[in-house]
Amino acid sequence: MSLYYLQKFLYVLNRDEAAQQRYHDDLDGLIVDFDLSDEESNALKEGDIGLLYVLGVNGQILMHFAAFLGIEWFDYLDLMRAGTEKHGPVRAGVYATTGGGESFTVEGKDRENEK
């Protein structure tokens, strides 16, 4: 279990512009400095928000990472929902889903209806 280092990778990435540049130029080299499982490394390399959420990455850290990847707000929420559907409940931390997966905003419901 290396959730600590998974989150630390994202903590560094979120606040360090040099790390952000390396993310684009040399992701493998950046990741190797952190003690991660294959599942965690792959989730980072693929930008798999759903799996990272299920693995227990703190939502605040994950939200910033999603913004870094250019993921729009409601897409970010949907990716987390898809993650729990595919991989099961959040495995660690305090950012578990408690609401059953539905949208709690008028704006989100309107978007779903427009799909």
């Binding site: 600590y4 979120n14 606040r15 939200m63 910033h64 609401g99 905003t105």
Partner: protein
């Protein structure tokens, strides 16, 4: 007495970042107007520096060395760390108050063990309040972090003690000091439940806060807060510290659960300084 203002306000990133998505624009604009009222009140107080007691979100502090409290003593700060386009706040430099920060820190340390920092990259937890309270970034800022994110969290009674220590320290310096506590009440931010708000729990907390009912405020356990107010509810520590700094009853100037796109019950309040 040199504490001239104490209040609280919400800081969720959607307040600026998702403003363009809001359907209920009338309520949004009412909220923004109350934030501007708060800005005017701080200006009219004559405050020469603003202490922002915030709950940051792993912008500077991580579980490799997580302080219960930290006070900024830097000459300047940078923010936001988030994508500026995402937060809809331009990246900028914010003036600090290093000498004043050191004097406040020294006095706070007489009763509360606090870390201090000369470097600080502000995330939305501070940038959103500054966007409304000092939009031109003219007022020197002393950032404060209370650990509301990485359990084990700062105990509520220590947040109260910290607020009292800030008050005592502010009263010992000649400068006029304003303080705000910024966080959320019940909310489930950055999860699929974003937008969920427990209005009854919020109103009960705000009632206790406005009445300065310390005993009732201290009775929240982290387990109950997590169940009823979500992980975002842990940020009540910042509101509690602001109440403790003020010492007087509060006036709830604005609260609405009608902007869930902001992921929090939007709140503005001030306290009597007594």
């Amino acid at each position: 007495m040199s504490l001239v203002y104490s209040g609280v306000l919400s800081h969720a990133p959607g307040i600026t970042g998702r403003a363009h998505m809001v359907k209920n624009t009338a309520k949004r604009d009412e909220f923004y107007a109350k934030l501007d009222t708060q800005r005017q009140e701080i200006v009219e107080s004559g405050a020469e520096a603003l202490v922002v007691m915030a709950a940051e979100h792993f912008g500077n502090f991580f579980m490799n060395n997580m302080p219960a409290f930290c006070i900024g003593i830097g000459e300047k700060y940078y923010g936001p760390i988030e994508d500026p386009e995402w937060l809809k706040i331009d990246r900028t430099t914010i003036p600090g108050a290093p000498d004043l920060g050191v004097r406040l820190t020294k006095e706070v340390m007489q009763t509360v063990d606090t870390a201090y920092a000369e470097e600080w990259k502000f995330d939305h937890g501070i940038m959103v309040p500054l966007h409304f309270l000092t939009p031109n970034y003219e007022l020197p800022i002393i950032p404060v972090n209370i650990n509301c994110q990485g359990p084990p969290l700062t105990p509520l009674h220590r947040a109260w003690a910290f607020g009292e220590a800030i008050r005592r320290a502010a009263d010992l310096v000649p400068e006029k000091i304003a303080v705000v506590g910024t966080g959320g009440i019940s909310h489930w931010p950055a999860t699929p439940d974003s937008g969920k708000i427990n209005v009854e729990w919020d109103r009960e907390f705000l009632d206790r806060l406005m009445r300065q009912d310390k005993q009732a405020l201290m009775s929240y356990t982290d387990e109950d807060t997590y169940k009823d107010g979500g992980q975002g509810g842990f940020e009540i520590r910042t509101f509690i510290a602001a109440a403790a700094a003020a010492g007087g009853n509060g006036e709830l100037q604005f609260y609405t659960p009608e902007l869930p796109i902001f992921a929090v019950g939007c709140t503005v309040a001030r306290f009597d300084i007594v």
